[in-house]
Symmetry: C2
């Protein structure tokens, strides 16, 4: 590896499908190029010229579409967080709280698997955002966390789940979803959907374990 590992890898996730249709082809190419560069070498070591080169555009092209390298990162991070929140809101409500929680975990996990490179950039480069942009992302993260928290506390209130520490269990469930961006590969053993279903089962096991801990 060494030098080879630092070379710009092919983008082996579905992030090119993420970008808002309101962006033209060049801007979408710059966002995809930004994902590849930031994933390979980090935000701080990436130049705007690296991004335009990855997109096959001239060095000046970035400033036609974005005000700065940071704005490229913000748009990637905002889109990633918004998209992973959107898939949660699309999970149909279910009268059985366990079925609903399973659906949320499966959706969150399979989104992160399918978009694991863009998700990795969105998770690991937050420190490079301006304070205003960071606050926007924190707001989106709070909304995702709330969806899980509400589903869990609803199930506890309805008596479908035993009493558990919702805050800590949700944090652990989110860890399962987020950490996979570190190791997941689309050509590995599990499809995004298979991993989602598997982790949905594990999440329900954590809820049960957390409740029995509380009851001790």
């Amino acid at each position: 590896m060494g030098a080879q590992r630092s070379a710009l890898p092919d983008l082996v996730d579905d992030s090119p499908a993420l970008w808002d249709e309101g962006f033209g082809k060049a801007a979408r190419g710059l966002l995809t190029g930004g994902v590849r560069c930031f994933a390979a070498q980090g935000f701080h070591a990436t130049t705007t010229r690296d991004i335009t080169a990855a997109a096959g555009l001239s060095p000046a092209a970035l400033y036609v579409h974005f005000s700065s390298k940071e704005e490229v990162l913000f748009e990637i991070t905002r889109t990633g967080h918004k998209s992973s929140l959107d898939v949660l809101t699309l999970v149909p409500p279910d009268t059985d709280p366990a079925t609903h929680l399973r659906g949320l975990v499966a959706a969150f996990v399979s989104w992160h698997a399918r978009h694991h490179v863009a998700a990795r950039v969105s998770q690991y480069e937050l420190g490079a955002l301006t304070s205003e942009h960071y606050e926007v992302i924190v707001g989106l993260r709070r909304r995702s966390t709330s969806v899980f928290h509400d589903a869990l506390t609803h199930g506890i209130t309805a008596g479908a789940f035993p009493d558990a520490d919702a805050h800590r269990v949700v944090r652990a469930i989110l860890s399962l979803g987020v950490d996979l961006v570190r190791w997941y590969r689309l050509d590995g053993a599990d499809s995004p959907e298979e991993l989602g279903e598997y982790y949905a089962d594990l999440a329900l096991g954590m809820v049960a374990a957390a409740a029995s801990r509380r009851a001790r």
Copy 2:
């Protein structure tokens, strides 16, 4: 945040306690300085001058102790992985496989909480290592994974755990331990030991859920 968030943060974990006693005071200061710099701005954007400044040493001091910036990263990453493996080997064997697995998870999780900044650098900057150094780290990671895998399969063979997919469950358990380096703070609600005990319960819940999934 913004500019403030890019400033070198105080090191709020116990990584200065990690370094081998064979290193002198200056070398240990450079390793701690490396952790702070790499955590704040990433390996590629950190200069050797940043590291010596963080250690309060002259710019040339780094090359007295290390051959390169990459060697500083390797020593941090090697020490982190070796130390988190060592705490696993110190967990006493137990005739009850569940007690043993609980002890392993608690030790792994509390180590990552206590050393979360050095652990974050060790996890997120692997791509910057040379291929030879990367292989050393992969070997240490395999040994940690094997400790969990052996404990789980031993419990399954002994009939203490129901039949579960050990590979996938171990990967999920490791995710709980690793992902906390992204959000854990030593001044938060849970001490490293409390979080370790909590996650040990969640891990046993995942084992049970994975087994019941297999039985379906």
